[in-house]
Amino acid sequence: MNKTTAEILNKYETYFSASHHVVLKNRGHAIVEDHREGDCIYDLDGKRYIDCISSLSIHNLGRRPAAIVEELCKAIQETDQGNFPMISEEKATLAEKISRFVPANLECTVFSVIRGESIDFACKLARGATGRKELLSVDGSWFGQTGFAMSLSDRKDREIYGPLIPNIGQLPFGDIEAARKMITKNTAAVFIEPVQAENNCRQAGREYLQSLRKFCAKKGALLILDETQSGMGRTGKKFAFEESGIMPDVLVIGEALGAGMFPIAATVFTQRLNKFMNAHPMIHLSTFGGSDLGCRVAQKALEEYERLKPWDNAARSGKKLREGLETLRNSHPNMIQSLDGRGLLLSMDMGTADTALAFCRAAAEKGLLVCPGDVARCSVVFRPSLLISEETVVGILQAVSDALAVMSYGFSK
């Protein structure tokens, strides 16, 4: 570790906390992120790492995608974030482009800057539009840090923040009979991630999603899909729910909308639901959400998503990565308990949280950055750029293999 890195880490302890530093150390991530390009980042010492964090599925088009960087450079010269309550061409054009990017009946957009804000708005929309109070999610969910999002999440430490949003319930994941009973005429909405990225990439099956859709429709509840992690091509389709053939009432598109260059996320929904927002405008505001600069960046990002169709590469490369990991699992059955996920959203269950961290450390040493899941701490999640090259896939597998070998010999503790 060079002197500057040590100084920066010291300051991290001073201004944040010693435990913040420990979190990094435990993952082997006590490095300073410096140069970044494409599939990789470099630390201050110039050591290269394959980025399989992608800032939690933000950098779907890789680090610093040239077209997006160029567009932001241009936009800066032409405009600024704008006055948030105002009509703007940037906002209107982006909202229209989003409506064309997603399935047809999801026509309306409310912008935000983070997933949590998008979810919080979705909760408010659900209650407002249905006139009902009850919000349901499933166990193993993780929606973000803001008030509603946290209240809906399966979070161990939730009781330390006092009483949270009332009228929130949890369906047992995958249990169709329980869903049939628990979704009632009091239910405003059911929230689910088609792939629970933080929970060992557990997938909601086709039959389960179809059942939820059916029960929600029958009882007049909304089905709200959070595709922050699984959407924008990550699972090998534009959106993960497409495989189930259902249509949500509300879709949360995460920060991948800004392609890692600008904070922007969106909640998209039907005209039918927007009747409520049209009748009650200005009850939900976001100063930074829908910034005109962000809208310019996201417009270009959508063009790039459409041009590059990164979901194709996610499907192809994801398959190779998955196959490679399966092979490694077979050779290390004691270490890798199971594999789940699809496309380039994959997870290995390492059995315990400590083993997962030990793996992250060993992998970092071998030039691969991966994080444990927030819900299933025993899992290690792979979410690289959707545009990764074949060579990088080979590099990831090599690093995983090397890390497992080091762990088997007990060298990296």
Partner: protein
């Protein structure tokens, strides 16, 4: 831009974003588009009219719109950076944290990042509840803290809350600047008092010094966390870098956003005092509120330049001096029009005019917009119009802008408007009389 082009934009906005918002904006003649954003103004592309921006996205453009220094910094940042990885650290994140700690008053030297105002407030309340293991939060009537779950629960106006309820339990509301009321509201379960040192959306109410000192004292006495929401008041707006510096009162937690992004790049931060109760909680729970897009590398790079710019150009002093001139000019108008304007309030470049009736706010927005001044009435108090111009009026531009805002422009606008109101009332009165 032609009327038709604008019409198309408005149609697309109505269809894909919100048609109610369009109607709302049209009612106050605020349905203008903003082009050529520069310094204190933008241009309505349809009429070609120069509009002085007195709203500044509720205080986001402290350094001025399209500030060339900040734009240049952004261009420089874009040569090497992106948002970075939220779970990793970088030189830029640490540099901003260090700088924030160094400029913040007293021992407010611990840092957390947030993606914006609401997220910062959610973080602050989680910190207070988690650290104290108590639940009760006291906020103020008409307070505005944001739209995420905790922030919304602390909003003191029914309008934003009613369709979203039930919200977080154990939030209560007391009148602003009323020490006795807050004393009565405190219980053994009170975790925090959250307050804006100058209430913005509520209609520009400046906290009294003895009130904030009283809150500090009460919080010390009862081990309650004092949270200041400086999302609008921070970054020089009120004549000091943070408004709390006026009062010599240091909150335990201070939330900031808006102008930290220089009008360009979203960012936010929460500072807290290095007190055992708070520091220990964060140490035990370092990941209690990680931010995913706040504290990004690009954001931190820009925020640091924004702080440099504000400090190097002594902007808080400019805000104080120019704000005083503006307030005096508006006060003069009030004296001349006591039946229209009830009060002029404010501190620094955060000034509000309160009219005698709620409906005058939207009417005044309309009249001003027609005359090249973009000013919005307060969401939580439509009878109050806020003047929150960029505080970075370049020195050479000050006389010109003040001239616009002072005698010539504002007075002409206001007088024309008063005349129209008088006409309206006289017609109304005639009608009333004739109907009797």
């Amino acid at each position: 831009m032609s009327q038709n082009e604008k019409k198309h934009i408005v149609q697309v906005f109505s269809r894909h974003i919100n048609s109610g918002q369009v109607k709302y904006l049209k009612a106050g003649h605020l349905d203008v588009l903003e082009t050529q954003r520069q310094s204190v103004r933008f241009i309505d592309p349809v009429s070609g009219r120069v509009m002085i921006d007195c709203f500044t996205s509720a205080g986001c453009f402290n350094v001025g719109r399209g500030n060339p220094v900040i734009k240049k910094a952004m261009a420089e940042a874009l040569e090497t950076l992106d948002m970075g990885t939220s779970t990793l650290i970088s030189v830029h994140k640490i540099a901003l944290a260090e700088r924030l700690a160094s400029i913040a008053p007293a021992d407010l030297n611990k840092v957390l990042f947030a993606s914006g105002g609401g997220d910062a407030i959610d973080c602050a309340i989680k910190l207070a509840r988690g650290a104290t293991r108590r639940s009760h939060i006291i906020s103020t009537v008409k307070a505005y803290h944001g739209h995420t779950g905790f922030a919304l629960s602390a909003n003191g106006k029914e309008h934003y809350r009613k369709y979203c309820e039930p919200l977080m339990p154990q939030f209560s509301f007391v009148p602003f600047n009323d020490m006795e009321a807050i004393r009565r509201a405190v219980t053994d379960d009170t975790a925090a008092i959250i307050i804006e040192p100058v209430q913005g959306e509520a209609g520009i109410f400046v906290a009294k010094e003895e009130y904030l000192r009283g809150l500090r004292h009460l919080c010390d006495e009862r081990n309650i966390i004092l949270i200041f929401d400086e999302v609008q008041t921070g970054f020089g707006r009120t004549g000091k870098f943070f408004a709390c510096e006026h009062f010599g009162v240091t909150p335990d937690i201070l939330a900031m956003a808006k102008s930290i992004g220089g009008g360009i790049f979203p960012n936010g931060a929460v500072l807290y005092r290095d007190r055992d109760i708070l520091t220990d909680f964060v140490c035990r729970n370092p990941q209690f509120h990680p931010t995913y897009t706040g504290g990004s590398d690009l954001g931190c790079f820009i925020s640091l330049k924004v702080i440099d710019y504000i400090m190097d150009n002594n902007l808080p002093v400019r805000a104080a001096v120019n704000g005083r001139k503006l307030k005096d000019a508006l006060e003069k108008l009030r004296l001349e029009n006591p039946k229209i304007i009830r009060e002029v309030r404010g501190i620094g470049m955060m000034v509000g005019i309160e009219y005698i009736h709620e409906f005058l706010g939207p009417m005044m927005s309309d009249a001003l917009a027609k005359n090249g001044i973009f000013a919005a009435y307060s969401g939580n108090a439509p009878q109050v119009m806020r003047f929150m111009l960029p505080i970075a009026l370049p020195a050479a531009k000050i006389p010109g802008v003040l001239k616009l805002l002072n005698s010539e422009r504002v007075q002409t606008v206001v007088f024309n408007w008063i005349r129209s109101v008088e006409d309206f009332f006289s017609r109304f009165n005639r009608k009333q009389r004739s109907s009797i």
